[in-house]
């Protein structure tokens, strides 16, 4: 497991170098901050941008920390709080709702032993509700790290999905 930086600790040289690469891949262009944050988030196992990383980016680009914080809290895909290795986003919009996403949610809660908004003890799974991600033809659906898993209409399918994640 990657070690996560402690809350008030500056980033390791290794992480700084990785973020430098992210910045480079975005031409060190501050207008690409949203893409930079999305990529930075993927450097951390629990899919978030820790403060230390946010301030590091602010020191490298002409973007104040406040604007980074605004983006992190405004965009649903970004987070300033640690999530999980597999944040499971359950679509709560209408097409999934009328295709029994409630049952899907309950199944996931039962199988993982956590409620929506919580993280499993080992930091592997987190349950989240999200708005429509455009997979209405495969309702009910979840999305995990950008990948959509649809038609989850039985406990068996859900179990298979969880087991496939490692």
């Amino acid at each position: 497991m990657l070690t996560e930086p402690k809350e008030q600790e500056a980033l390791s040289d290794e992480l700084r170098a990785k973020i430098d690469l992210v910045l480079e891949s975005h031409d060190n262009d501050f207008t690409q901050i949203v893409g930079i944050l999305l990529d930075t988030q993927d450097l951390f196992e629990r899919h978030y941008v820790p403060q230390a990383a946010a301030y590091y980016i602010a020191s490298k680009l002409p973007v104040p920390a406040s604007r980074i914080f605004d983006c992190l809290t405004f965009y649903a895909e970004l987070s300033d709080k640690a999530r999980a290795k597999y944040p499971i986003e359950i679509c709560s919009s209408i097409a999934c709702h009328v295709n029994n996403n409630e049952e899907l949610k309950e199944t996931l809660e039962k199988l993982l032993g956590i409620h929506v908004g919580e993280v499993t003890y080992d930091g592997r799974f987190m349950l989240l509700k999200t708005t429509c991600f455009g997979a209405c033809d495969r309702a009910p659906a979840v999305r995990i790290n950008g990948k959509v898993y649809g038609n989850l209409d039985s406990e068996e399918k859900v179990r298979d999905l969880l087991e496939s994640l490692n």
């Binding site: 008030q8 700084r16 403060q51 020191s59 490298k60 920390a65 605004d70 405004f74």
Partner: protein, 586 residues
């Protein structure tokens, strides 16, 4: 009106009244022209239009939706209606929605009776709240000596954010999150002093409600005034005498020095002195420091250090340039030091029994007064700083009819100021005051005929001039607002700055536009105040700091020479780099 001008005029009707305004005018201003004040909250005359609050929605014939009066330009033949059933329904509805998310403890609010939202409620005769309160109660955030944030009062209009970003270029304040969770906050919700914020208080100046206010020190001052064991001294900053009148129905920029002194006497201060005296002292020290740096190869450009928001900015944002800051303390702090040493000895008082109060246009002054460098032997030189807004509250508290007061003179011996001290309150004033003295010093007694340096006056963001002094041309620059300061500082940091002396004031217009001034402060008002300060200067018999007889006595009796050991001890200070949450040096 010429044909050309006519072509650029637009004719429209507002509530069936014809009105003709220049092309590009917004509905809000067109309505004001015929005496209709369309309700508005996020609109501020000096800011970019935001059109967030929507309370200025009005009906325009032929339009399916209402239009925001603040952001909609008028067009030829436009028919505007500001009072129809749908407009009333909408405006009151929006106000009611806003109120549901606003902590309505108006009676105990620092902005009671001085709040744009409260005024609209009174205007719209809101008697019963329509929607249930959705306020989640938070305690006000009061972690620094200058500014208090009360998120429960925030109406998310964004004025503070714009001021912080567009005027100061700091962006300490930001929106975060979205929908009902949206809030005005700092990076990672940190306390303001732990962010890029420099405590200039411009946000408190533009907040329409009580969400951002100065830290209130009026109680501490009243306690001292009513404590018989304390000898209370008050000093008043140069700009306050032309801004205080705002709260008592005077015209913007009206000079109310005499009434102000009387009011402070009535409040019970033992001595009412003038920060202008401190300003003259600052010029003596800063002027000689400049000469010393020029003659002995010191760090140039030298930059003034009277504006505490600016000093905080330097320490936070350009720590590598700290050596450029003049080591001279600000007029307030010099005054405080002299009051607790020279004056105490003079009056045979124990400095610990003296309570000094400074009436300042500034929230950052509260922070400056609390710096550990600004005191000795366990006491601070300035015990309390009140902003103009707070002294207004005290004057009202005592029940004084300000406009009916007789005029009184300042007390002696720290109550005399020159014209040079008077103009400290306007951007360019410190520079002009310094030039008056430096010139005379360089010529060794021959006095300069030219007293007024118009190149460094006025409202331009950055002004520069080449001043011919005996033996050397001095390149000077003057900047106000921190956005302009940043431009100047980038040159200084790169080593490309062409200047010898730079004056920087954190707030627009200088202290007359400071973050502690009445909330009625706008750029138009600032201009009037600026005129008033130069008027004061023109009328004073002594217009150069070094000619102030009380200053001369002070040096003769106590300090010796400018930059003497004693002067250094009392009147100079040091600066420090401020640690950031995570320090990654660029």
């Amino acid at each position: 009106m010429s044909k050309e001008e006519k072509k650029d005029m637009v004719n429209l009707t507002i509530n069936n009244i014809p009105v003709s305004v220049p092309k590009g005018t917004k509905i809000l201003q067109a309505a004001a022209k015929i005496g209709i004040n369309i309700p508005h909250l996020c609109f501020h005359p000096d800011q970019r239009i935001k059109a967030h609050c929507r309370i200025c929605s009005v009906e325009v014939t032929g339009k399916r939706r209402l239009l925001a009066a603040c952001s909609t330009e008028v067009w030829e033949g436009m028919e505007v209606h500001t009072d129809t059933p749908i407009v009333r329904d909408t405006q009151i509805g929006i106000l009611q929605l806003m109120l549901a998310d606003h902590d309505r403890d108006c009676l105990t609010c620092p902005r009671n009776h001085n709040c744009d939202l409260q005024e609209l409620c009174s205007r719209f005769n809101i008697q019963v709240p329509d929607f249930p309160s959705v306020v989640e109660h938070h305690d006000p955030i009061s972690t620094n000596p200058s500014i208090v944030r009360n998120p429960d009062k925030c109406i998310k209009c964004g004025r503070c954010i714009r001021q912080c970003k567009d005027v100061q270029g700091i962006e300490a304040l930001t929106y975060a999150s979205r929908s009902a969770d949206i809030r005005v906050t700092t990076a990672f919700d940190k306390p303001m002093e732990k962010t890029d914020c420099v405590l200039c208080g411009q946000c408190t100046l533009v907040c329409p409600t009580g969400a951002l206010v100065e830290k209130d020190d009026t109680d501490r001052v009243l306690d001292a005034l009513q404590d018989p064991s304390k000898h209370t001294i008050v000093q008043i900053a140069p700009s306050v005498r032309v801004t205080l009148g705002d709260a008592f129905s005077y015209k913007p920029g009206e000079i109310v020095t005499g009434q102000m002194v009387t009011a402070l006497k009535l409040l019970g201060f033992d001595k009412v002195f003038d920060t202008n005296f401190g300003a003259d002292l600052t010029i003596m020290e800063e002027g000689h420091e400049l000469l010393d740096r020029i003659q002995n190869g010191g760090t140039l450009p030298m930059i003034t250090s009277c504006s505490p928001g600016w000093v905080n900015f330097m320490e936070k944002h350009f720590p590598r340039c700290i050596d450029h800051l003049s080591s001279a303390k600000s007029p307030m702090s010099m005054f405080g030091a002299v009051a607790k040493t020279y004056y105490a000895e003079h009056e045979k008082l124990d400095p610990k029994d003296i309570f000094t109060v400074a009436i300042m246009p500034c929230t950052a002054k509260k922070f400056e007064a609390a710096r550990p460098e600004m005191g000795r032997d366990g006491y601070q030189d300035v015990d309390a700083v009140l902003t103009t807004r707070e002294i207004i509250k005290l004057i009202k508290y005592v029940g004084i009819s300000f406009d009916k007061l007789n005029e009184t003179e300042f007390d002696s011996p720290l109550g005399t100021g020159s014209g040079a001290g008077a103009i400290f309150g306007a951007t360019g004033g410190v520079m002009e005051a310094a030039l008056r003295t430096v010139y005379d010093k360089l010529t060794g007694g021959e006095t300069m005929d030219k007293l007024e340096f118009h190149d460094v006056r006025g409202f331009d963001g950055i002004k520069s001039a080449d001043v011919e002094l005996p033996g050397r041309t001095v390149h000077v620059a003057v900047a106000h607002t921190l956005k302009n300061a940043r431009k100047i500082m980038e040159e200084v940091q790169n080593g490309t700055s062409p200047y010898d002396l730079i004056e920087i004031m954190a707030c627009p217009g200088g202290c007359i536009g400071g973050g502690g001034q009445p909330v009625s402060t706008t750029n138009a008002v600032r201009q009037e105040r600026m005129k008033a300060l130069y008027e004061l200067d023109r009328k004073l018999p002594i217009r150069k700091s070094h000619e102030n007889p009380d200053i001369q006595t002070l040096y003769k009796e106590y300090l010796g020479e400018p930059l003497s050991k004693k002067a250094h001890e009392l009147l100079h200070t040091t600066y420090h780099k401020v640690k950031k949450p995570f320090d990654y040096d660029k």
